[in-house]
């Protein structure tokens, strides 16, 4: 006999101000099976949890229903409490009377009735709940980090530090990411490369870390503890082991027409190249599209010159299959394409550049050796206009509705650097708002204004007209309403950040979700910011949303910690809410096998005796460690031979009935 105890949480006044708790209690008293009802201000508190535990022990209840916040919030809490009191945790059900009730309804009576209804449904379901015992599965003690920017580097280092094997997969020839391209970092103005490159070297030297540069993840199967991953190591055309990184080939390569990706197209590079001098690994790559040998079949100069014979034109892509316990996604971000922002003339004029290009132009290792000159005529500019929010906070289709978060600060940094190096050069910044939330950020920006004389203009630029020698920037000062015309030598656009174009593909491959801006979605915006909804897959850095470096590093370390948490276990418990087959009813049509995304269902031949005759019958069988509990098979199964534990046909029908009462 099921004895249900119902625990109603007030959630302070979050629930109780809209839902009449007394009325709910009174209504529940009439529900058959409910033998104990208790309400309390904060059921999730220790006292509240004790109420549940005590009732299990003293009231002899064997089903627990908690009417409170979303099960996504505290289901685990109450399951744990029940387990502590000796009740199987899967005999607990949650009625969501906060997010789905008190917070969304204003009418007290209606909300109260709905709370009763939702709780009644939870009781109906709980009565049919069965004890579930999670299965166990081993953990592959190796982590995969996708992306070799600062996020990926930090994560890999932290996991390796904890003693676990890490494979880092980086798409480009070198790790380093966007941070390697930066000149100085705000708000301390320390040199980006100076703080990044030691980490890159650490990573390269770490025996626990295996770097797959110039490689891509192409397939991911499996589940937490046991991901099966396929990595494609693209043909570098160089034998990594033989290359000493002497650089002769780079210098002598006759094909020097390709634009350097690292220099944001502001310089040329050879067909055989390392993206930048401090690249890790310091092994070049042959760009087969521009290499004369590959295009015409003639040349082969690098092979002739290479002192160690490391050049291999025949090299093929290599497929690596590896198992991992956890995966950290750190694929980073991009700047938006500015082709739809015609008013800024970015595509048409060389002296209109992005913030990232500016970084290269002022970088001592950059194409100009750190001398700020106009790309058009190599002259030093006298007046530079910075335009913020190019595409950010822009609800139109071409832009992004969100704030890119880093632009206010880097623009202040750019202006400050400019004024510091070239005091005779004027700096103007057009902004919508200046957002400087962060430690030392406000002070930094104020310094730019107050100490460095950067002119901040609240307002947007309407259009830029390229003149003979200068750029005419037409804007509005929103404070005075005045129309402004500035003759600038150089314009720097703070282009919005955006998710990587391949984010969709990565999300699909990993079965994690992306939000409407195609950033990866965390499991909970506040409480589980580095986890995804897919157990064992974590997020680090700007692939989850715009971030500055310290935030990225913090998240990377957090993700690493989460990953270490999994790797440190010998066994993981499975979600026991998995499919099961009642073989006597199974017809063996195996529609379930056809639709199962996890290959968790297999075919089995059973012997069955009917009326003296033995017949062999084909039936389905579920591998509980592979099944993730989506329940798709249960619907493909017409007779209902395959059912989902924890969300059984009977349970859901009981909920429907109860809700309709």
């Amino acid at each position: 006999m099921q004895r249900v105890g119902v625990f109603i949480c007030w959630c302070g006044t979050n629930i109780s101000s809209t839902v009449n708790i007394e009325q709910v209690v009174a209504a529940l008293e009439n529900i058959p099976g409910v033998v104990y009802i208790k309400d309390y201000q904060y059921m999730c508190s220790e006292i509240g949890q004790n109420l549940v535990k005590d009732a299990i022990k003293e009231q002899n209840i064997n089903r627990v229903v908690v009417a409170s916040c979303s099960p996504r919030m505290h289901e685990a809490t109450f399951r744990k409490a029940a387990a502590a009191a000796g009740l199987n945790p899967y005999l607990v059900e949650i009625a969501n009377i906060r997010e789905h009730c008190s917070w969304v309804h204003k009418d007290k009576e209606a909300a109260t009735q709905k709370a009763i209804s939702l709780t009644r449904a939870a009781v109906a379901k709980a009565i049919l709940n069965e004890q579930l015992i999670p299965g166990e599965v081993g953990v592959e003690k190796r982590a995969l980090v996708i992306g070799g920017g600062i996020a990926g580097i930090q994560t890999a280092l932290d996991i390796a530090e904890a003693g676990y094997q890490v494979d880092l997969v980086e798409k480009t020839p070198s790790i380093g990411g966007k941070m390697a391209q930066l000149d100085k970092t705000f708000p301390t103005l320390d040199c980006s490369a100076c703080i990044l490159t030691p980490k890159m070297v650490d990573l390269a030297l770490n025996s626990k870390i295996n770097l797959y540069s110039y490689s891509e993840v192409t397939e991911v199967n499996g589940f937490v503890g046991n991901f099966e991953v396929t990595i494609n190591q693209k043909a570098r055309s160089i034998e990594m082991e033989k290359c000493t990184g002497c650089g002769i080939c780079l210098a002598k390569c006759p094909a020097k027409k390709a634009l350097s990706e690292f220099e944001e197209g502001l310089a040329k590079r050879a067909a055989i190249y390392t993206p930048f001098p401090q690249a890790v690994p310091n092994v070049p790559v042959i760009d087969r599209e521009t290499c004369i040998k590959f295009v015409t079949g003639k040349c082969g100069l690098c092979a002739k010159l290479c002192p160690t014979g490391a050049i291999d034109y025949e090299q093929k892509d290599q497929i690596v299959n590896q198992k991992y316990g956890v995966i950290i996604v750190a694929t980073g971000y991009d700047l938006i394409n500015l082709d739809r922002f015609g008013e800024y003339q970015y595509l048409d004029h060389p002296d209109i550049i992005t913030g990232l290009e500016f970084e290269r132009l002022v970088n001592a290792a950059g194409p100009t050796g750190g001398k700020l000159v106009r790309p058009s005529d190599q002259k030093q500019p006298k007046k530079v206009v910075f335009i913020q929010c190019v595409g950010s906070r822009d609800k139109s289709e071409r832009g992004k509705a969100y704030c890119s978060k880093i632009c206010c600060m880097y623009t202040a940094k750019h202006a400050m650097l400019l004024r510091d190096k070239y005091p005779d050069c004027e700096a103007y910044v057009f902004y919508i708002d200046v957002r400087t939330a962060g430690k030392g950020f406000e002070e930094f920006q104020r310094r730019a204004v107050e100490n460095y004389g950067v002119n901040y203009i609240k307002g947007m630029v309407g259009k830029i007209f390229p003149g003979d020698n200068q750029l005419q920037v037409n804007g509005v000062d929103a404070l005075s309403g005045e129309l402004l015309q500035l003759e600038a030598d150089l314009v720097v656009l703070a282009a919005a950040t955006q998710a990587k174009p391949e984010a969709d593909e990565v999300a699909r491959m990993l079965s994690i979700s992306i939000d409407r801006d195609r950033f990866f979605t965390e499991a909970h915006p506040k409480l589980r910011p580095v986890e995804t909804h897919c157990a064992g897959i974590y997020l680090a850095g700007a692939c989850q949303g715009p971030k500055d470096i310290p935030e990225t590093v913090a998240q990377a370390s957090a993700a690493a910690t989460k990953a270490i948490g999994v790797l440190s276990k010998n066994k993981l418990v499975n979600n026991p809410c998995v499919a099961k087959v009642e073989q006597a009813v199974c017809s063996g049509c195996l529609a379930c096998i056809k639709i199962c995304p996890y290959e968790a269902i297999t075919e089995q031949v059973i012997e069955e005796k009917t009326r003296g005759k033995v017949r062999l019958r084909r039936v389905a069988e579920v591998n509980e460690t592979l099944c993730q509990g989506c329940g798709g098979c249960t619907v493909a199964c017409r007779p209902g031979a395959i059912d989902l534990k924890g969300f059984s046909n009977q349970q859901i029908l009981a909920e429907v009935d109860a809700i309709c009462r």
Binding site: S70, P71, R72, M73, N96, R98, E99, H100, C101, W103, V104, H105, K106, D107, A110, A111, Q113, K114, S117, L118, A121, D504, A507, R508, S511, S513, I514, D515, R516, T521, H533, C534, C577, I595, P597, Y598, Q628, G629, C630, G631, G632, T634, V635, A636, L644, F647, N649, I652, L653, E655, V656, D657, I659, C660, R661
Partner: protein, 154 residues
């Protein structure tokens, strides 16, 4: 038929409070509903949510049972195609429920009573919008008598 004749009368019935049963997938739409909650968006209390792991867990039986038990509208909400937590679940939902929806329409059930939509965890707004929209339409249609069990009282 008597059922239809009475429909017009019922529409004018005072105080008609529609009951809408919404099946929401745990990972996107249920979370979207949670977000609607945390964002304090408003939608009517007539909508009651049943949590399922994935929209592909929703059996045609469940939908019809809800109608039999007097639900005036049924909603299935899942992750957007491509975003399924279980990779492919909602692709099956899409086919299955496309057919079911058409079949119900074919036997003369008003189209607006059965809504399927994709609502992600970040679309708290959309969740509230869809709920409000369905409710408004169902309100206009009046109570479901066509599929409701004549013996069921609410």
């Amino acid at each position: 038929m008597s059922v239809i004749a009475s429909d017009a009368v019922i529409k004018k019935e005072a105080g008609f409070e529609p009951l809408i049963v919404a099946f929401c997938c745990n990972w996107c739409s249920y979370a979207g509903a949670d977000l609607a909650g945390t964002s304090r968006l408003n939608y009517p209390a007539n909508i009651k949510i049943i949590r399922v792991p994935c929209s592909c867990r929703v059996n045609a039986n469940f939908v019809l049972r809800a109608f039999q038990r007097g639900a005036d509208g049924v909603i299935i909400a899942g992750c957007h195609p491509g975003d399924c937590h279980y990779m492919t679940g909602n692709y099956y939902t899409r086919r299955r429920m496309s057919l079911l929806k058409n079949l119900l329409e074919f036997i003369g059930i008003e189209e607006a009573r059965f809504k399927i939509d994709w609502i992600s965890a970040s679309e708290g707004n959309k969740f509230a919008e869809v709920m409000n929209d369905v409710l408004a339409k169902v309100h206009q249609l009046g109570p479901n008598r066509k599929l409701r069990d004549s013996r069921w009282r609410r």
